[in-house]
Symmetry: D2
Subunit: 307 residues, 4 copies
């Protein structure tokens, strides 16, 4: 079979989601995110052979937020391998309400690396394994995306920290179970730094292609992870990558995805492509509302699915 006409499909989707852009709520817990216009919409596809397709605001950088957790997990797995799973689980979290009680019942072991509690532990692991964690993370993402200009937004990080009482609560709680080695401040600073990195749809589709390619960046040939590790990150994205909507995403979209409250979502179709979408307004579960719909249309129109 010939490949789908990705460009035509992206353009169709751009048309179809227009009405949805008025629905949902833009994240408003910090001013920098609150001021992003809800009309923004971008989408990009990058195939394993290097073709790039894009539509809308696909070149405009936005705040990666939780999407960055895939990269810190990559660094942590590369550094300590499966020992990571002695400090964080691999199961879906059930629902957000459980986050704290779950930590208590399970002795401070976060359910998975993509909930905030788990990402704090992953951040602690990265801090332990890199001389300069920020530089290492930035270099990794710049390498994967091929965008040497990609950088953090210090104002976002500062705002997040100023409003980050829940994350501080989580960090202190995990620390009370001896599951953090670094100081609360160091862990939170690195965590807020990673969330503040800004990337465009094209950056992110390119930047996740190594997960569709057995852990290896297709154009540099650089192996970030072993083939097994890459598959396993995909598995984690499928079961835990979209907050409490992982089941709905698996059912409706059918591919591993990671979302962020900045409105971005990135998906991986192993051995084929990576796809990313951005639309700032979120649905009740904290995923981009139009972005979720766009990805559902994309897999439906292309017939692509891992199932």
């Amino acid at each position: 079979v010939s490949a789908p006409d990705y460009q035509a499909i992206l353009d169709e989707i751009l048309d179809e989601v227009q009405l949805l852009l008025q629905q949902g709520d833009v994240a408003n817990y910090i001013p920098r995110l609150a001021h992003v216009p809800r009309e923004k919409f971008g989408m990009a596809v990058v195939t394993l052979d290097g073709q790039v397709f894009q539509t809308g605001d696909a070149r405009e950088p936005f705040s990666m937020q939780s999407i960055s957790k895939v990269y810190t997990l990559t660094l942590a797995l590369d550094a300590i391998g499966d020992k990571l799973w002695q400090r964080v689980g691999r199961e879906p979290s059930g629902n957000s309400f459980n986050s704290l009680v779950q930590l208590e019942l399970e002795n401070g072991l976060p359910r998975n690396p993509f909930i905030n509690a788990g990402a704090l532990v992953v951040a602690d692991v990265v801090l332990a394994s890199c001389a300069d964690s920020r530089a290492q993370l930035l270099a990794t993402i710049r390498g994967c995306t091929g965008n040497a200009q990609l950088r953090d937004d210090a104002e976002v990080a500062l705002s997040e920290k100023a409003h980050g009482f829940r994350n501080a609560a989580l960090a202190n709680f995990i620390r009370s179970f001896d599951n953090l080695d670094h100081s609360i401040d160091d862990v939170l600073d690195f965590y807020f730094y990673q969330c503040s990195l800004a990337a465009s749809c094209v950056d992110l589709a390119r930047g996740f292609l190594f997960l569709a390619n057995q852990g290896r960046c297709p154009w540099t040939g650089n192996a970030l992870l072993s083939p097994d590790q890459a598959k396993r990150i995909n598995a984690l994205m499928l079961t835990c990558g979209t907050y409490d909507a992982a089941g709905d995403f698996a059912y409706d979209v059918g591919i591993p995805c990671k979302s962020g409250v900045g409105g971005g979502i990135v998906g991986v179709i192993p051995n084929v492509l990576a796809v990313s979408v951005w639309s700032p307004a979120l649905n009740a579960k904290g995923n981009s509302l139009a972005g979720s719909a766009a990805l559902e249309r994309f897999t439906s129109k292309t017939g692509l699915s891992i199932f």
Copy 2:
């Protein structure tokens, strides 16, 4: 690439799991299950083109238990389609401890169709849509497996009912939220009937092949579900099919699976094959201990994965 030598791989696995057969605990809440020898081990693969590979006790019937939930879900989806999701969710359950509190917090809507609460609602839907639900279910499973002798074990069903206070508690609780239409007894009787159906590894690998084949039985051509519905059941199995170990299964095995406390597990590799395994002793999460290891080895040795 040529296909793996499935027969050699199954035989290797049979050797490798021998030591594991002494570990774990055979389900003991009813005598019929408790008396199954822990030494039993069978495994079978059936490919889309109809080849059958098997090893060990792959022809010996065992109690399907929760594996049957895939078939009642198939009947319910066929009957009322996506309306089903108004009565049951599609998200992983987090952990078993949540089952009842989750029902309370979410107004009697079970988290997914594979936890017991959800299967009771699915049973209620099937009761509403079939004149003779038992006959319909049995005919469906006989059709899929090609085994016209496949049948229930009435002693198992009776024992389960006699010890089924938790399921009766769940049914009454769901009923208090008006999410069951039939009498508690009718729902429980049908539920215990479905759990008591007995099938062999070869039966089950054959019987799940329609899910690897876009919803269509490969040898009869009979469509049980639309291609989309088949994909979605696979997605549900991946995120919710193995109790509270779905994340571990996705990570370690990497394919959609459904397990039962009888010690059976069935997995689906879309467009390629179905694989099943049976070993009665269970691990702490209620999945066959040696069976889980066998499936992990199978996908590792064959390189098959959906990720």
Copy 3:
């Protein structure tokens, strides 16, 4: 100091609560309760020396509901003494949402004898210790109240059973932990029978006087409980007697009380008197709205308090 003028105080309260009678909601899960006029209000005081004071509808019988749990607890303590506490706890339940998860976390041991789960275990104990539990319970209440006409309302019991899915869920769940010896139906039937007993304010003030009198009925001299046991039932009423408002009651009213969804509340001032009130409309916590206010005024006007 001379005794307060109880009659004047009751009459004042009757005036003061009139506006409150329009607030709150009459229990509506069964028709018999739903049809009780919200304008009803009665209040009665009986002192240790036998004086009776009353106002409003204090002679009209209403459904005792959970108030009857004090009598079944009395029978159970009399029968097996402190062994009861091996099967039910003595701690406040925290909040209603916990009832089922609490049972699960604490292996089927209900938190206290006044939550429904605990009352089902108490009912099971009474069933084991009395040849005819209903007759024994009725004789006890008739004896305490001095009302030989006091009886159950069979229509209420039948309606409760027909809508009693939550209680059936609880009973099955407790049974799954082996903390019920009798059949689910026997336990539920006795439980619904006790809830359906009907008594007036005067009956109940008289009927609780033994708890203000060291466990002994003041006019017959009959000892239902030892002085220690009577004190302890008062302690349980204070910490657990008014659903999830026990803390508020202790704070605002300051005496041990037991309430029921029929709108009755009975309070005990050790060595002084018993007081009861009835007003059918309930507040958000399930206690009589005007009745709670009336008791608060009563202890405030009389200066009576255990603190």
Copy 4:
């Protein structure tokens, strides 16, 4: 009736509890508490008319810990009265496991002022209402106890802060609901200061006498609280004063008590006396093991009870 012979009773109890002093565990989360010898035992009674009875180590100061929460609550109630209840509840907490999930479900409103979460809010209220909160608290306790030498133990406060990740987690979590006005550090510093105050049994029995005397210090005549407020603090101690054992205390001891992990417990018998006990080793619920037994014997031997 003549008063019991308190001195004889205290001496009897001192004998009777000797064997218990080997049971339980001394709090060991900070060295200063861990090094207190488990053989210590003191008990004191002070009657409303000023008589002091004591036995054992009743003059030796120990760490007040949570007992100090009664004084900060006194200051907060004096400062803002019943407005306090807009920021903290008055219900028992059910069980410790709930602390965080309860905060989440109830929007950051702690269940009562004696759980840590509630005491942090109370500390925040005191910080807002006193120019120098520490000085004010110390002056209040010195005044009530009549001990002008009573002071804090700075090493305890520092150690508590160094290990106080759970309290920091709680403070951050409450802050995320906007239920703290001061900085996390200020609130925690004041909280750890109050916990580090050291007092003897005689100090504490004297120091709680105002609660047995309508809010008024018997020998200075100074009113710390209104009679109503004093009753209400007694009610709160009864329902919430001994961690998750409030129901057991009400049942077994029968008087309002407040305990601390330093091994102290103070009880109040309204209009009669205050009683305090100290024994460092704690039972599973965090209350002094021998101290709980001693209080049970005291109320049993004297016949004193509020019920």
